[in-house]
Symmetry: C2
Subunit: 157 residues, 2 copies
């Protein structure tokens, strides 16, 4: 009860470059380092990650969520945002919102020579579907709460 | 479709000190100015607000949510966090998490002479109950999605 509220600094939270992506897409996702702020703080209703992208790294493969909203706040460094519309550089203090269900796929790519840091928040709505227009991957959140990766021919990775 | 992703700066978003609080609790809540980042960006699954608190102002009355999680990131200025445990000053870069259902009630009070700015994210789980230990107020989210304020004797404000 009394320990409910948690006050902490980013450096208190472990950083990890783990990825659930299957081969051959794992390596390109591992220059992304995330601190699971929400989980560390005991939150379960939505995810909050503080993300650091190395030079040359990406936030994820370019993707769009069917059911889950996402928002990013750039905190440090300039990074390239790619969407269906093309690309643009976004800078600290900029907000980028990705409403669910639009089909507009996005990723961030660090084309600079220094790390970029941003905050990302997304909800955990079940039975989400994630489409990846650029690679042979398709993600489906099961009714069991487990997220699985398929090839576009429907076979499970 | 192609306009789905939204890229913007805080100053693009209108700022408002509107409050749903009933009298006599309205005035103390109106030194809080919020920019509705999530709504502006087309998000519906959770709320994202950039909040500015004037000197002497508060974020809200001290409260605890039954069902909704909340997280705050301090962006500018030092502010006093009050919880069941007492008070402490939190500074830029600090994260504060308020998991649902713990009963640990919180508010932020600006005891400095300059504005404080923070980001707050909370989900929109329905039928939430909000308890206010310090004032004669009790908030209930209806199954109809409408949030109502009651006195502690159960009468509607």
């Amino acid at each position: 009860m009394t320990k409910a509220t948690k006050v902490f600094r980013p450096e208190d939270v472990p950083e990890s470059n783990a990825t659930g992506y299957p081969e051959p897409y794992r390596a390109m996702n591992m220059m992304r380092h995330a601190r699971r702020i929400g989980e560390f703080g005991g939150l379960t209703n939505f995810g909050v990650n503080l993300v650091r992208i190395e030079p040359g790294g990406q936030s994820s493969a370019r993707h769009a969520h069917l059911k889950q909203d996402e928002v990013v706040l750039i905190l440090d460094g300039d990074i390239t945002l790619e969407t269906n519309e093309g690309e643009q550089i976004v800078t600290p203090g900029t907000y980028i919102t990705f409403p669910a269900g639009t089909g507009d796929a996005h990723r961030f790519v660090n084309k600079t020579e220094k790390d970029v840091v941003f905050l990302v928040v997304g909800d955990k709505t079940r039975e989400d579907v994630v489409t990846y227009p650029d690679i042979d991957m398709h993600g489906v959140g099961g009714a069991d709460g487990i997220f699985r990766y398929y090839r576009k021919d429907g076979t499970l990775y």
